[in-house]
């Protein structure tokens, strides 16, 4: 499969990872086996990492949760820089995302999820702030998610076209 097709396949899967191989094969005009091989290779290379669903938990009543973005200032270490502390923070399952930032007055941006604000606060003070190289933290709670990973959570485009047009 050529590179262009491979990119197309990735874009299709990113849009909807549940499309079956047969459908993908038809859309890309490739034999089914080729698509299977390509997907296996992309998984092997860790280009396709996982196939999660995007869930709007805010619509689930009995699932209280809060998300916070935490600015973390750290002292980088010789040889390993920020990697060591970043990886350490990644290990906590409550941590949803960790990014190394440029241009900010902090170094790592950590996205954290918890059931309550208290739970998040306690994680920050007990687990995060106590890590050796962490100098300071600032916690920002998310009040409302409008768009996530390129997808608007509440707005769906309606088909406003007429039924039959020339």
């Amino acid at each position: 499969m050529n590179r262009q097709k491979q990119m197309e396949l990735l874009r299709l899967l990113e849009e909807d990872s549940r499309q079956d191989v047969e459908q993908l094969a038809k859309m890309l005009a490739e034999p089914k086996e080729e698509i299977e091989k390509a997907i296996a290779a992309l998984e092997e290379e860790n280009i396709i990492v996982k196939y999660p669903a995007l869930i709007n938990w805010e619509r689930v009543d009995d699932h209280p949760y809060v998300t916070a973005m935490i600015d973390v200032k750290v002292t980088p270490k010789r040889d390993v820089g920020f990697d060591e502390v970043a990886k350490r923070i990644c290990r906590f399952p409550e941590v949803q995302a960790v990014y190394l930032m440029s241009g900010a007055s902090y170094d790592l941006s950590v996205v954290l999820e918890g059931k309550t604000m208290r739970e998040v606060a306690s994680f920050v003070s007990q687990k995060l702030a106590t890590i050796d190289s962490v100098v300071s933290t600032a916690t920002h709670f998310i009040l409302q998610r409008y768009k996530h990973d390129g997808i608007e959570l509440e707005d769906r485009d309606e088909d406003r076209r007429m039924v039959v047009t020339p």
């Binding site: 197309e8 909807d16 038809k26 859309m27 076209r161 007429m162 047009t165 020339p166």
Partner: protein, 394 residues
């Protein structure tokens, strides 16, 4: 209104208008629109909403107060962008000040092109199946349409034989649309080349509707105007509706050599004055920064085309490979039904709306036009329903 006054009012219509047939699509629209849960493959426009950058550019122009007329021919900035775009994409070169006119959709461009060139009784060759407006617009301009047929065996391409056999002393021009609505067919440079000697011999003017020019799959669109000697005898028409998903904006353009363009400009300035300013602003943004959006849409059409063409063939409906636009035009001859019966039964029994091919001309008999500009989910359901429908027939 009483029958009497209806009759009186009818008599007031010009004989030309009174004799125009209502669009064959209308009846289907009324039927389909009255039903719930219909999956429509009958829509002749993109399923994408205009990309936000164009909408935003237009909103911003309103905020800044760009609400006045533009020059008759359209904003010069826009015409310059059109010139650059046509040169880069299709290797045709038009002067922005003398050879490009911005119109209210390609529809207006078709109208003023025909009105500018036709005298009563002039014949215009119309390659069909084709967009439903060519015939009435020719008649409104006083012309006489003469239809050239195309067939599935020839991938709905115009052949030199068919072209030559319909030319008379009154033939003034030929109009066609490639990539084609409703067949999705395209013409390559070599296929155009084969027609040139005939066009030259009979000194025909070409009206080339290239509204689907960006929507090709596999190879770039070849504009007939790009062939040697053809710019002088071609009126090139295109617009923003299909490539940039901007149908409701009503913005198109027409390009032709200065004398012809000046003629069209006369009609345009007296009847339209100028195309809407806010739409021109959106179009400017489309040409400057909207190519990426367009490429993503084209990629998605191509994938869906591959999927539906394969689907029709599996159902047992012969379908040529449409190389452009967003229509498949499968043959339903194997079912023994006429296109109109097939479409009506399919709508009533399985709630799938398609358009009978003969709405677009004689050559469309035995075919249905299926637009794949709809979501994969809908396409999948539509194919399932059509499979069930066709299997019941056999």
């Amino acid at each position: 209104m009483s029958t009497q006054s209806t009759l009186t009012a009818k008599r007031r219509l010009s004989s030309t208008v009174a004799s125009l047939k209502p669009s064959g699509i209308r009846r289907f629209f009324d039927l389909a629109a009255s039903m719930e849960g219909v999956i429509s493959l009958g829509v002749g426009e993109p399923d994408f909403v205009t990309p936000w950058r164009m909408r935003e550019a237009s909103i911003s122009s309103l905020e800044r107060g760009y609400t006045a007329y533009t020059s008759n021919a359209g904003m010069l900035e826009l015409r310059v962008e059109i010139q650059k775009y046509l040169e880069e994409r299709f290797s045709v070169s038009y002067h922005p000040e003398k050879e490009i006119l911005v119109t209210v959709g390609a529809s207006e461009a078709i109208d003023i092109a025909l009105r500018a060139i036709l005298d009563p009784g002039d014949e215009v060759l119309v390659v069909e199946p084709c967009y439903v407006s060519y015939e009435p617009v020719i008649r409104l301009a006083g012309g006489v349409p003469v239809f050239l047929k195309t067939t599935m065996e020839n991938q709905f391409k115009l052949t030199p034989q068919e072209l030559e056999s319909h030319i008379t002393a009154r033939t003034k021009a030929i109009i066609f649309c490639y990539p084609n609505n409703p067949t999705g067919s395209t013409m390559s440079a070599a296929e155009w080349q084969a027609l040139l000697p005939i066009l030259e011999k009979h000194d025909l003017l070409v009206i080339s509707d290239e509204i689907y020019g960006e929507l090709t799959y596999g190879r770039m669109h070849d504009s007939i105007a790009a062939l040697p000697g053809m710019k002088e005898r071609t009126i090139l028409i295109s617009g923003f509706s299909k490539a940039f998903a901007m149908t409701g904006w009503r913005l198109g353009y027409v390009c032709a050599e200065p004398e012809l363009l000046a003629g069209m400009l006369k009609i345009h300035q007296y009847t339209m004055l100028c195309a809407p300013t806010m739409a021109q602003m959106a179009a400017l943004e489309a040409l400057r920064h909207g190519r990426g959006d367009m490429e993503r849409m084209v990629e998605s059409y191509r994938q869906r085309r591959n999927y539906v063409v394969d689907g029709f063939r599996q159902i047992g409906l012969a379908c040529h490979e449409p190389e452009g636009a967003f229509y498949a035009f499968p043959s339903i001859a194997s079912t023994g039904l006429t296109a109109a019966d097939f479409a009506e039964k399919l709508l009533m029994e399985e709630k799938v709306a398609v358009v009978p091919g003969d709405v677009f001309g004689e050559s469309g008999h035995g075919h249905i036009r299926c637009s794949y500009a709809t979501s994969m989910e809908q396409l999948k359901k539509a194919l399932d329903r059509m499979e069930r429908f066709v299997s019941k027939l056999s």
